[in-house]
Subunit: 360 residues, 2 copies
Amino acid sequence: MTTKAVFHPTCYGIAYTNGTSFLLQFEWRTNCNRNDVLAGVETDAYFFCLWRCYLGKFSYFCEKFGKKNMKIGIVQQTCQQDTRKNMEKLCEAIRKAASMGAELVVLQELHNSLYFCQTENTALFDLAETIPGPSTEMYGGLARELGVVIVTSLFERRAAGLYHNTAVVLEKDGTIAGMYKKMHIPDDPAYYEKFYFTPGDLGFRPIQTSVGRLGVQVCWDQWYPEGARLMALQGAELLIFPTAIGYESSDTPEEQERQREAWMTVQRGHAVANGIPVIAVNRTGHEPDPSGQTNGIQFWGSSFVAGPQGELLYQAPKNEEVVKVIDVDLQRSENVRRWWPFLRDRRIEEFGDLTRRFID
Amino acid sequence: MTTKAVFHPTCYGIAYTNGTSFLLQFEWRTNCNRNDVLAGVETDAYFFCLWRCYLGKFSYFCEKFGKKNMKIGIVQQTCQQDTRKNMEKLCEAIRKAASMGAELVVLQELHNSLYFCQTENTALFDLAETIPGPSTEMYGGLARELGVVIVTSLFERRAAGLYHNTAVVLEKDGTIAGMYKKMHIPDDPAYYEKFYFTPGDLGFRPIQTSVGRLGVQVCWDQWYPEGARLMALQGAELLIFPTAIGYESSDTPEEQERQREAWMTVQRGHAVANGIPVIAVNRTGHEPDPSGQTNGIQFWGSSFVAGPQGELLYQAPKNEEVVKVIDVDLQRSENVRRWWPFLRDRRIEEFGDLTRRFID
């Protein structure tokens, strides 16, 4: 057991360590309320990072290296008619992300194909596949080969006449860590998803992986605070949204920007309200409307990663393909939730009516 | 009494008017759910604009003119020790806003006094007052005189040892339109509100006024998507947050900006998720900590109005007092909710667990 006294402008105390574990006892000087305490305390084997003291009471966090980082790869692409070529390009991108250090790679929504929901066409159900199936085998193999976790977004054929928009998370060993079936299904001109996808029946459940507990949802879900909150209440460490969203060309540039900004704002709002990072990966490029009824969709790219205060850590351009690895400090979520302990004060006894369609 | 039959693609019915008031009786055709009904019905003296029909039930709003704009005054101020002087300054500001055309004036949180929650001091309960009481009488008188609706934020003494942080909305005739008792109570260094305020027991209920249905909450409530959603589900047309929030001087400038941005982002996120505007009115100026434990609070001002896509319509500076009137087009909420009909698709059968503290 090593004992070391600690003195610092904002705290003083004693650190004990036996080389593998440690105990810290601190008192904080009276003027250190609401401050980060950035005292570094070096003992025999450990660098202790001490921080945050509330209310004259004591709070501390200690880790070997004080930080829990995750390298997150995002792949923003254009798609073409030939699904095989899309998948080959995705494999290349995943390899590239892994070579850049990614431990987790997130793909965009329905990445294997064009966004086929621009028209209602029964022939397009041919694009669907079972889970497990060819895609989980292929991306699972890649996950195993590269030792990364991959968030895929697939068109699932569950039974004849029963299809879902399903995110499948593949573990580093190639197995299926879990899946999420898109819960909120949109239906707008050029986004006829209610024709293709039955709303998910797995609820909002985070998926436990070797890199963390992932709150995966899909696209339209991103507009709903309820899903984000339910993920956070189940311990999700990240909110993740594979997405396919873009502009309608007849909207004014100002309206297009308002929509893109709204899309970012609501998701960054989930990050703030829940004190965890958000990752949204969107497709890019123009895809024509096969029916000719609209001018097609100009997908707005802009994939982004926001930290637990909603702060933008990265944003992709609108019109370029991107493979990018972003370093996210998950320890920051712990800090932010201490500073702003929203979960402490929720008035749950008054939230029952959230299960109503409308209160009239 | 004039009677006029009304026929329109989406509705039919009868309008009665005696020249000064009116009665409308309508039935809606079966295919008009979720639509704006833009029928203009001209009778002797009135052009009635009818709109809003929900889910087979009927809801309508009538105005002389087909657009529904609201002029919203916001008052961002510094406060001083002398409450009488604060109130005099507020009265001047409300008069100024009214003279600029405001129909609704929103004040900052606990506007009559310094933000007294920086320390826990039983003597400060002397600042509290009953509702109705001196403040509702004074601001009510002003509302009547100026013909404006005023959102006030008062320290309420409900009984000996029972206090609330209560927003009171005063109608144009000076009466109390309704009140909201702050539901989520923070407790951080320099924000010792749990000492002063019992959490509200009125729930999240919008307040009907002559200018619209107001979803008034207070400060810490602004971080919670649940309250905003409950207000929207009860037909709130605006979300309104009197606020007192600021920087701790020992935080880095970057951290201060992250906090201020997070504060805006989460509220703009409520606007997006619910398709209605948000008004947040914050105090400005520095207030010292009477205990000397901290460096006091530098309130960050930045009061803002955002539209139903979260788009900023106005933002006040950080360090200046402001009286500003912003023109908000409430018709835009109707349009935005048609484009992005989030309320249509909520998976309410899966939201029951939102009433749990944590799902573990």
